[in-house]
């Protein structure tokens, strides 16, 4: 009984909330620039329109090109199913743990990069090359952060991490989780092509990374790719929101508790989205070869977090 409900809620959250988060980020950025900015629902409209449009496919492209958008979208969605949006629900492990979720995203990325190379366009290759570099450099920090979170609860399954967090936010019981939080925040920016790493709104060949890979995509393929990107963004925001700021509504009856939990979740996500937007406003895009600095900082923070875990050892 619980499982279908869980899957429904997760899917609904991913599909409905993810574009909104993007809208909020854009709105905040526009506000800081004294513009009105696109309306919050813009991304939904874009996606709808793209789905309706014809697709143009390069004559060079092979089946990989056609398959990549679907795979990318499915892996993002599947990975999102691993991270429950509210604590109220019984988490289902969905046949894996955090590591599987991360590697699923890796699978999507692998095909996205191949899709970029498949058309024989220079931009695609450039984007693929850069994307793979960024992801390779950020990977150690990601694994160390996740393993440390796992060590706090004794297992790498999402469920046990969540249930430990229910007893109290890791930030209050283990202050060094702050290090991991910051590390994960940097990872969020890097993985979702946000400003210090990549500028989502640029199409300048010298700077674009994620967009360069999608340059040849159009119509429903493009819609799926864009959708997958925002779902991935929501996934990382959810990790931050639910692993570090668990807020459990204490209501006895199940339905109001669930609803309240969802509302709290949406609020948390929006707050983090605003934070991301503020970071985008207040920083500039880094020179491409400064990204290793960012990766190094993120890795060192997560590693120190892991070390502090021993010193106090809770």
């Amino acid at each position: 009984m619980n499982t279908p409900l869980y899957i429904l809620i997760q899917l609904a959250a991913a599909l409905l909330l993810a574009p909104l988060v993007n809208g909020v980020i854009k709105k905040v950025k526009a506000f800081s620039q004294k513009r009105q900015g696109p309306p919050l629902q813009q991304m939904y409209l874009d996606l709808y329109k793209l789905l309706q449009k014809d697709t143009v496919v390069s004559e060079t492209a092979s089946w990989v090109y056609h398959f990549a958008p679907y795979l990318n979208f499915v892996t993002a969605l599947l990975a999102f199913l691993f991270f429950p949006v509210t604590f109220f629900q019984q988490t289902i492990s969905f046949g894996g743990d955090i590591i599987l979720a991360v590697y699923l995203l890796g699978l999507g990325r692998f095909f996205m990069a191949l899709g970029g190379l498949d058309t024989g366009s220079t931009f695609g290759g450039m984007g693929a090359s850069r994307e793979m570099m960024i992801s390779a450099l950020i990977e150690p920090a990601l694994l160390v952060s996740l393993l440390t979170l796992g060590l706090m609860s004794g297992s790498t399954s999402v469920e046990s991490i969540m249930s430990v967090n229910l007893q109290g936010s890791p930030l209050s019981t283990n202050p060094f989780a702050l290090l991991i939080l910051i590390a994960l925040f940097i990872i969020l920016l890097a993985e979702t092509a946000r400003i210090p790493v990549d500028d989502p709104s640029t199409h300048l060949e010298l700077t674009m990374v994620h967009e360069a890979m999608l340059l040849e995509y159009s119509g429903r393929h493009l819609a799926l790719m864009e959708y997958a990107a925002v779902i991935k963004q929501l996934l990382f925001i959810t990790i931050l929101a639910n692993f570090f700021f668990p807020l459990e509504p204490a209501l006895a009856s199940p339905l109001p508790a669930l609803l309240l939990g969802l509302i709290v979740y949406v609020l948390k996500v929006l707050i983090i989205a605003v934070l991301v937007a503020v970071t985008e406003i207040s920083t500039v895009k880094l020179r491409f070869f400064s990204i290793p600095n960012l990766a190094a900082i993120s890795f060192v923070l997560s590693f120190l977090g892991f070390m502090q875990f021993f010193i106090i050892g809770r």
Partner: protein
């Protein structure tokens, strides 16, 4: 059981002798020999599989006592041997089928009869290495394996590159063998037995010396950094079916040796051994794939990637040794499963990749990635198989590489829980190294697949390339499809590996690896976390179907308009405008410039005037760091020393040489006399 062994032996010998008899009929002997080899491999795999499935003590396969003292030939098959033998059987089966088609392009050029004979002897020697029950047999088989593989590496003698690579290989491998001989003599002197059996009564000092000797001796064969220099030269120049065998199983015999001698013979008695292996594994994993990434010769790229995978295997092995020494047997068992699982996986996908590389080479006659491109359309099956193998070697779900990587991460996780503080830091660094290696591997194989199979063809050969013959595809398919199968149903193999645990460590983690018995749902579960690739795969498939139907319902006639790739409005996009392999790896080449030390040079040819230079030429090169900073100075030192010493050792006077012999005799006599005094 012995029947199967005899069948295997006889079939291999037939397969080796037959081509020598039918030397002239290349077509006939190639077919016959490979079919016999395939049958022999089937029988070997069956032998191993039945041993793996049954409980009980080791089975003696052969015992020939010769009148010469110390020279006995004993072969035994326990579960550890059986597992490696299974890998060998499976790989050589695929290789033999592949070779039926592959060897055709050597007809008339090379003596394929001798070649087939060598291949079978090579496989047989590995068989003996894996089942040897005493030190002498092991050594003979080991040496035979090294020599035959040398002969196979340099088989295409008309190319100078080959003999150079072969020379390097044989020097390095004999260095390793020398260390092994010292180690074996130490064991014999201290235990008085030539049997490969538990020798835990040795003193700690001798054990430590033995550990170092074994690590270096087997390390050369396994290609751990910095002993790897031969590997990226020898593997690419060998014919591809040999590269597949060498990379798929020969370097694993070294892993087998390490396991056999460190875990069984020496009983993993010091915990620092595990840490040393852990660190070496992490270094090999990161540096191996880092060198693979900048390589544009695809066979060398695969060779470097083998170093990375050996590193991952060693990570598991290190954890196993450390945990076993500290008495945490369950962690040790888990790590051993992870390590052996990766051995098996690497046999499959690296075999497949090398076979695919052979198909590419046969179709295009080049080993340069920059000359490929667009092959997914010309060679769709090869391309798809290569893509699948690349996905599994990049450890992506739902392929087997992911399962073993997951198990390795889990065993590192357990390691973090049981180890001492300093070891914990190393363990986490090793985990980070594993993650970095994973990321780089993905980048490396996106480059390999993306540049060689996608996009526009970059050369005339690539434009006219044709699909490989069916036998070659079948050989590859036999290795690739199990990758997917094992990635989805990992429990079978985990169960088999657990049998090895029971035999080696007297502990079973299978109760920890829980799962319901429903046919499709096979999770591997460890301390509260589980992995059920089937479930995730089903979820993915269902989502895919839903999305596909929803999209096609929303917009029922999606007409894909086929059009040219956007060319920025200049018109005439050609293959030279594509991203190149060098360009692809450039960002990482710059990030790790401390490691690669790239040199960039821009040359102009003389033009009509200084203001109008002629054709520019841009040269990028990277330095082979280890050769330049370790081996070349070392070699220089030795040469210099030899040059100087020959003046006073090798004087050319016969009398001096006689004095040497005389002095040695006297010293031996005195030594004997001193011994007699006690």
């Amino acid at each position: 059981m012995n029947f199967l062994f005899m069948t295997t032996l006889v079939l291999y010998i037939c397969a080796a002798v037959l081509p020598l008899i039918l030397l002239k009929q290349q077509r006939v002997h190639n077919l016959c020999s490979n079919i016999l080899q395939a049958a022999a491999s089937c029988s070997a795999a069956l032998l191993a599989f039945s041993r793996l499935n049954n409980a009980g003590a080791a089975v003696e396969l052969m015992n020939i006592a010769s009148p010469i003292p110390y020279l006995t030939l004993t072969l035994k098959l326990d579960k550890l041997s059986a597992f490696f033998l299974f890998c060998l059987g499976l790989l050589s089966l695929a290789v033999s089928i592949y070779s039926i088609g592959y060897m055709k392009h050597y007809f008339g050029r090379l003596n394929t009869g001798l070649f087939s004979c060598f291949v079978n002897v090579f496989i047989l020697s590995m068989f003996f290495v894996l089942t040897a029950a005493d030190l002498v047999t092991f050594l003979i088989a080991w040496e035979l394996m090294s020599l035959v593989s040398y002969a196979l590496v340099v088989f295409e003698t008309n190319e100078p590159e080959n003999s150079k690579a072969g020379l390097l290989y044989i020097i390095m491998t004999h260095l390793g063998t020398a260390l092994l001989i010292i180690a074996f003599m130490l064991i014999y002197v201290n235990t008085g037995s030539l049997e490969i059996a538990n020798a835990s009564e040795l003193s700690a000092g001798i054990k430590n010396i033995l550990f170092v000797l074994f690590l270096l001796g087997f390390g050369v064969k396994a290609g751990i950094i910095p002993l790897h220099v031969w590997l990226p030269y020898a593997h690419p120049v060998a014919p591809s079916n040999i590269s597949a065998l060498m990379s798929g199983i020969m370097i694993k015999t070294a892993v087998y040796g390490l396991l056999r001698f460190l875990l069984v013979v020496l009983d993993a008695s010091a915990s620092w051994w595990g840490l040393v292996i852990l660190v070496l594994g992490a270094v090999a994993a990161v540096l191996g794939i880092a060198f693979a990434l900048i390589e544009n010769n695809y066979k060398r790229l695969l060779a470097y990637s083998s170093i990375e995978n050996i590193g991952i295997i060693l990570l598991g092995l290190g954890v196993a040794l450390y945990a076993q020494a500290g008495g945490h047997q369950e962690t040790a068992a888990l790590a051993l499963i992870a390590s052996l699982f990766h051995v098996f996986n690497h046999t499959l996908f690296k075999g497949a990749l090398f076979l695919g590389a052979g198909s590419l080479h046969q179709a295009l006659h080049t080993k340069d990635i920059e000359k490929l491109g667009g092959l997914m359309k010309k060679m769709p099956v090869t391309g798809t198989f290569m893509l699948l193998a690349a996905l599994s070697i990049s450890a992506l779900p739902p392929f087997n590489g992911f399962v073993s990587e997951w198990l390795t991460i889990q065993s590192l996780f357990q390691f973090l829980n049981v180890s001492s503080t300093g070891a914990k830091l190393l363990g986490m660094l090793a985990a980070a190294a594993l993650a970095l290696a994973g990321g780089l591997a993905a980048a490396c194989f996106v480059k390999f697949i993306g540049i060689s199979f996608l996009g526009l063809p970059r050369s005339e050969e690539a434009r006219i390339a044709r699909e490989a013959p069916v036998t070659m595809l079948a050989g590859m398919g036999m290795l690739v499809l199990p990758c997917l199968f094992l990635g989805i149903f990992p429990r079978h193999i985990a169960g088999l590996l657990d049998g090895i645990n029971q035999e080696l460590l007297q502990v079973s983690v299978f109760p920890l690896i829980k799962g319901s018995v429903i046919f499709l749902y096979y999770p591997v579960q460890i301390s509260g976390t589980a992995l059920a690739p089937v479930f995730a795969l089903m979820g993915g498939l269902i989502l895919y179907l839903i999305i596909f139907t929803v999209i096609h319902l929303l917009y029922p006639h999606p007409a894909d308009r086929i059009y040219k790739t956007w060319d920025c409005g200049f018109g005439g996009l050609n293959s030279r405008m594509q991203y190149t392999a060098t360009g692809f790896s450039k960002p990482l080449r710059i990030v790790f410039r401390g490691l690669y030390r790239p040199k960039r040079e821009l040359q102009y040819t003389e033009g009509p005037s200084p203001y109008y230079p002629g054709d520019p030429r841009y040269i990028v090169s990277t330095e082979p760091v280890f050769e330049k900073y370790i081996y070349q100075p070392l070699a220089g030192l030795v040469t210099r020393w030899a040059r100087r010493s020959r003046l006073w050792i090798q004087t050319g006077s016969v009398h001096i040489y006689l004095i040497y012999i005389f002095a040695v005799l006297i010293i031996l006599l005195v030594y004997n006399w001193v011994l007699g005094l006690h």
